[in-house]
């Protein structure tokens, strides 16, 4: 389970997060929605340690991790598929996936054998990735890169997964495909914090929703409550 308490973070002089608190229960899908520039990506970065919070706590299964930095937080079981996908372009699709499991594989020899079952599982979920396994990740289409970013995060067998705008810049058909995948992850019991601009679709898969405005959580509730909220309705679901 992921608990975020009173998180503050920003870039150089400018503070973006102004006390964000949220929780993602084991096995639930939580959506974080809000306008462009509200600070959703900054929140994801501060949670996963890409950005050091200036104040507040991040608890992963009860353990405070806000001081640890991204590499150690990843080792503790938090996987973050970041905004813009950030696949390793020059490396092959398969190498990208293997790196997803870096924390729990041997560094020199025998890592392929140990990763084989997980790789097979990911390839089953994303058959396109199997077809392109030896291709450089940078040559994939945007949709395929997003699948790779999700697959790479899943390779960690994470306790909690953060998924930031997986549908960004993708064609409508591919966006539907992305949401099908998210539903499958939900069925598989993955604990997921999802940032999405397609708020309606996000509300369909989510168990609980946080709405972010100007670096703060403005509204929260189960999807049905959020849908009835007049202000949210006008701003994000119009």
């Amino acid at each position: 389970m992921l608990v975020v308490e009173n998180l503050h973070a920003g870039y150089d002089a400018s503070e973006v997060l102004d006390g964000v608190s949220l929780r993602v229960k084991q096995g639930s899908v939580v959506a974080l929605i809000g306008a462009n520039g509200a600070g959703k990506t900054t929140a994801m970065r501060a949670i996963s340690g890409m950005l050091k919070p200036t104040q507040g706590r991040v608890l992963l299964d009860g353990q405070p991790v806000q001081e640890l930095g991204s590499a150690r937080i990843a080792k503790l079981g938090l996987a973050h598929a970041p905004e813009g996908r950030k696949v390793f372009g020059p490396l092959s699709v398969e190498d990208n996936l293997l790196l997803g499991a870096y924390s729990r594989l041997p560094a020199f020899f025998g890592f392929r054998g140990k990763a084989a079952a997980d790789l097979a599982r990911i390839y089953e979920l994303f058959p396109r990735l199997r077809e392109r396994s030896q291709q450089a990740a940078g040559t994939l289409s945007g949709g395929e890169q997003q699948m790779l970013a999700i697959g790479r995060a899943l390779m960690a067998n994470p306790k909690v997964m953060l998924l930031d705008e997986p549908s960004m810049g993708l064609a409508p058909v591919i966006v539907q495909e992305v949401f099908r995948i998210i539903k499958r992850l939900k069925q598989a019991g993955i604990t997921l914090l999802l940032v999405e601009q397609f708020a309606r679709s996000a509300l369909e898969v989510a168990d609980y929703v946080y709405v972010m405005e100007h670096g703060k959580i403005a509204v929260e509730g189960v999807p049905d409550e959020i849908r009835k909220n007049q202000r949210v309705l006008e701003a994000y679901l119009g």
Partner: protein
């Protein structure tokens, strides 16, 4: 005709050493966008330490790993003492600090071993063998084999082990690598260790040809730097091609124009590279600040 071929072959073999040192620059540049400006002294000190190991009576097959180990440790030391803090502060302090460490290394060598050039004994014979009328010494061949062997091993490491793939991941996208649990700090450390290894190998390989002295690597390093800049600091086997080319060109220049012109092609190449693609040197971001 055969004179030209002879010159090209001997020169190109020397160029392999430039390529190896340039490859060492690429290793740290790809992970950290920084290089050790005292790398020439690292080459020289590793050669001196290897020579001292020979003088203790250690057999050659133990001297080589000993010298390489010294190079690795010195590379790690430079990263820890001169580079890490500057990179954490996102500054350019590593430039000055690595230059200073180079100067310190130079003084240390002068004080410990003196200013004289000393011969570096080797079990590899230096009488030329003749192939199609061209004389090549086994020593020259050992240089080529040594260079390709160590580069091949580092490349195998990068491609075949998961740690090596993590190395490539940090080079490609440091932030994303962090999200995989790969510590960029550790990988940068590793890259400095490997860079020290290849530089030490270069020192051990050229020492029998150039002799060992505090200034043995000062010309070498400038040319290795030219090769790295021309071939691209990011990565790739371009360094081998450019190294071979520069070595051959030098050898021709010193024969046909005069031995004083040996250094000219490397400098001209560097000046041309800097003029044509200034971004190739430290990337766009740093050039503004420097």
């Amino acid at each position: 005709m055969s004179v030209i071929v002879q010159l090209v072959v001997s020169g190109a073999l020397m160029g392999m050493v430039y390529a190896l040192i340039a490859y060492g620059f690429q290793l740290t540049y790809s992970t950290s966008k920084s290089i050790n400006f005292g790398q020439g002294e690292l080459v020289m000190l590793s050669a001196f330490v290897s020579l001292s190991l020979i003088n203790t009576g250690l057999p050659y097959w133990l001297v080589v790993p000993g010298g390489l180990l010294f190079g690795v440790l010195l590379g790690l030391f430079v990263e820890r003492a001169a580079v890490r803090l500057a990179l954490e502060q996102k500054g350019e302090g590593w430039i000055l600090l690595t230059v200073i460490f180079g100067l310190l290394g130079f003084s240390a060598a002068e004080n410990i071993w003196g200013r004289d050039d000393r011969p570096f004994p080797t079990p590899v014979p230096s009488d030329p063998m003749h192939f199609f009328g061209i004389g090549i010494t086994p020593l020259e061949i050992s240089v080529a084999i040594g260079v390709l062997a160590v580069m091949g091993m580092v490349e195998l490491f990068k491609r075949k082990t998961l740690l090596g793939k993590a190395f490539e991941a940090v080079s490609a996208d440091r932030d994303a690598a962090g999200l995989m649990g790969v510590s960029a700090t550790r990988i940068i450390m590793l890259s400095y260790g490997l860079s020290g290894l290849v530089a030490a190998m270069a020192g051990i390989l050229v020492a029998p040809i150039t002799t060992v002295g505090p200034t043995m690597a000062s010309a070498l390093i400038l040319k290795a730097f030219s090769v790295a800049v021309v071939a691209g600091l990011d990565s790739g086997f371009g360094v081998v091609v450019v190294g071979l080319f520069l070595g051959a060109l030098e050898s021709l220049a010193s024969f046909y124009i005069g031995s004083g012109w040996r250094e000219a092609p490397g400098l001209i190449l560097l000046i041309m590279a800097l003029a044509l693609r200034p971004n190739g040197v430290f990337g766009k971001a740093s050039i503004r600040k420097v």
